[in-house]
Symmetry: C2
Subunit: 353 residues, 2 copies
């Protein structure tokens, strides 16, 4: 294989796992984190895949990501659980929370897991099929109480994180996979553009004085700017409301958040899995969601739009293509992995050239 060929997913997973294990993450956790980071790249979410690995390795090095042990169970009432994640890898914690909620939903109809002090959880879209493949619906919310880049509508002081919302919906065919933040854009994309000296196409941020701008560098200025909530200056009270909901569901239910002054990169997480069998039944459920999926994808597009897509449709298509033809990594990611492999004395896979 030559270097201008796209790498295979399994090669990247193997490399990421080896790097994580070398940074002292036990194999079971390293394997899951590696797999789900690469899954994000497969789906085209290139800011939230292997792009994060160097940061995770650094956090393992300096102990800000916990490598060993399990969660501390704060509460377990059957259908509602609270875990202290002890800053274990958020990707591993989130997958475990969804798998636990799926099992609990089998008997309780609906189950929720709140996680305080998780480490960063990466790409929400990658977790959703863990529920939809069991014909269950999942809601996954995340915020980071140690960071703030989004101001409430009308304000200038950042209070919230972008606050992503992941929702997996079985339809009988491909699931609907929603992964949207309550802000117009994300920290990941802003950071990438700022590093590259680029700007957004539209004024999706405010500078520190509250003036609209397309320059992501304002987030690092003093006083810092902010990312606008969805709806922007026009109707951003709606995005603010949704962002506040995510803050509350993730931090207030878990009992740890901004009021405590978190001291490190991390996440508060809320997972809820719903089994349609506990409502009107699986068949009645997919009858409606299948109809809806068809009504979206068959919708006549407006001028200039090729086709109307369902949330997740493009990600699933990219994943199929990437599994067949190799992964289209964002520029710079392979170099970053190579530097980590050199530094950590992890063998570089021959398939990667």
């Amino acid at each position: 294989m030559t270097t201008n060929q796209r790498p295979r997913a399994e090669t990247l997973i193997g490399l990421a796992q080896a790097l994580l294990e070398k940074a002292a993450l036990p194999p079971e956790k390293a394997s899951l984190v590696a797999e789900l980071l690469v899954e994000a790249d497969l789906m085209g979410h290139t800011t939230h895949g292997l792009n994060l690995l160097a940061g995770y390795l650094g956090a393992l090095d300096d102990g800000k990501m916990t490598a060993t042990g399990d969660v501390e169970v704060i509460a377990d009432h059957g259908s509602t659980l609270v875990w202290d994640g002890r800053y274990l890898p958020g990707v591993w914690l989130t997958a475990k929370a969804i798998d636990t909620a799926v099992a609990r939903a089998e008997s309780h109809g609906l189950a929720s897991v709140s996680i305080r002090k998780s480490h960063h959880i990466a790409c929400l879209a990658t977790f959703l099929e863990r529920a939809t493949r069991h014909d269950m619906m999942v809601l996954l919310l995340s915020s980071d109480p140690a960071a703030a880049s989004v101001a409430p509508f009308g304000g200038t002081r950042p209070v919230m994180t972008p606050n992503p919302i992941g929702i997996g919906i079985p339809t009988g065919g491909d699931p609907i996979l929603i992964d949207v933040s309550a802000s117009i854009t994300t920290n990941g994309l802003s950071g990438r553009l700022a590093k590259e000296g680029k700007r957004f196409e539209h004024p999706w941020l405010l500078d520190g004085a509250g003036l609209a701008t397309n320059d992501p560098a304002v987030l690092q200025a003093d006083p810092p700017g902010s990312i606008l909530p969805i709806g922007g200056l026009d109707h951003g009270h709606k995005g603010t409301a949704i962002g506040l909901w995510v803050e509350v569901m993730t931090q207030a239910l878990a009992g740890f958040g901004r009021a405590d002054g978190a001291d490190r990169w991390g996440a508060s997480v809320f997972v809820q899995v719903i089994d349609p069998k506990a409502f009107a039944g699986r068949d009645a459920f997919v009858r409606q969601t299948g109809w809806l999926a068809e009504a979206v994808t068959s919708n006549p597009p407006r001028p200039g739009v090729e086709a109307v897509r369902l949330p997740g449709q493009r990600g699933l298509q990219k994943k199929r293509e990437a599994l067949q033809n190799g992964v289209d990594l964002y520029p710079g990611i392979l170099d970053s992995l190579r530097a980590e492999a050199l530094k950590r004395d992890v063998p570089w896979p021959t398939a990667l050239g």
Copy 2:
């Protein structure tokens, strides 16, 4: 009292109740519907209060709103319930669903009620304090499978309703009361402006060909236009995702929706009540939500903005003022009530002039 004084809330509730009872709605239901419609006017949600009464009376007249009897219980698993609302008044059904979910959440930690075939449920904000005053959080979602005015992002054919999202959050002080739709504006406001020959300030709709417009009359054109999802042409994939979630939570869980071809004005409703005691506890919860409320209201406003407000803050303030000084009814509503009173031979309250 002279006619240019504002009417008292209790006078309006009494009149609305008398009109509903004259239209054959039993007293217990009439009383609750009257109270909650007026509550919307108190909070300033003037399209979703007494403005709806004439329509409700007409629906009682022609039997499209069921007047008597109770729900049919489709499923009851303790923490998850499905009701067939038999097109009983949606306001009464929704209040009953929240009260039921609050009681069930006491023992189950979290409880959900799905309602199929509800009649219209009016103003979501008016229901939320039924949960927050018990220190519980509530999520209230609604859609109408018989109507469609919102097209998915990139599309032109209306598939969804505006799909309101109501969220009540206890904070220790005034609750946060969220009531936002997944579209930029609502059917109610579009209908009012169209009737008055007015336009929106911004291009919040598409015409039937998919071109942006501020003219609400396009919703009644052939082919019909559509209301844009939140985010509009800029980032409306986010509003679409949230709108699809509401469609699924309301219709697919209840097992009745667009796939069935609903034949009358109504609603599919989802209620979920969460008791923080089943998670990290009540005190831990309001510690975070109180902090968040303070961080929003003390936020330095951007130029041109007087103060940053919490969702529901203005509505609660308007309600306090209206209870003290009388209700600021939208022009035309009192005339519409007078016409109904004349038609139905219901005595006009002397206090209304």
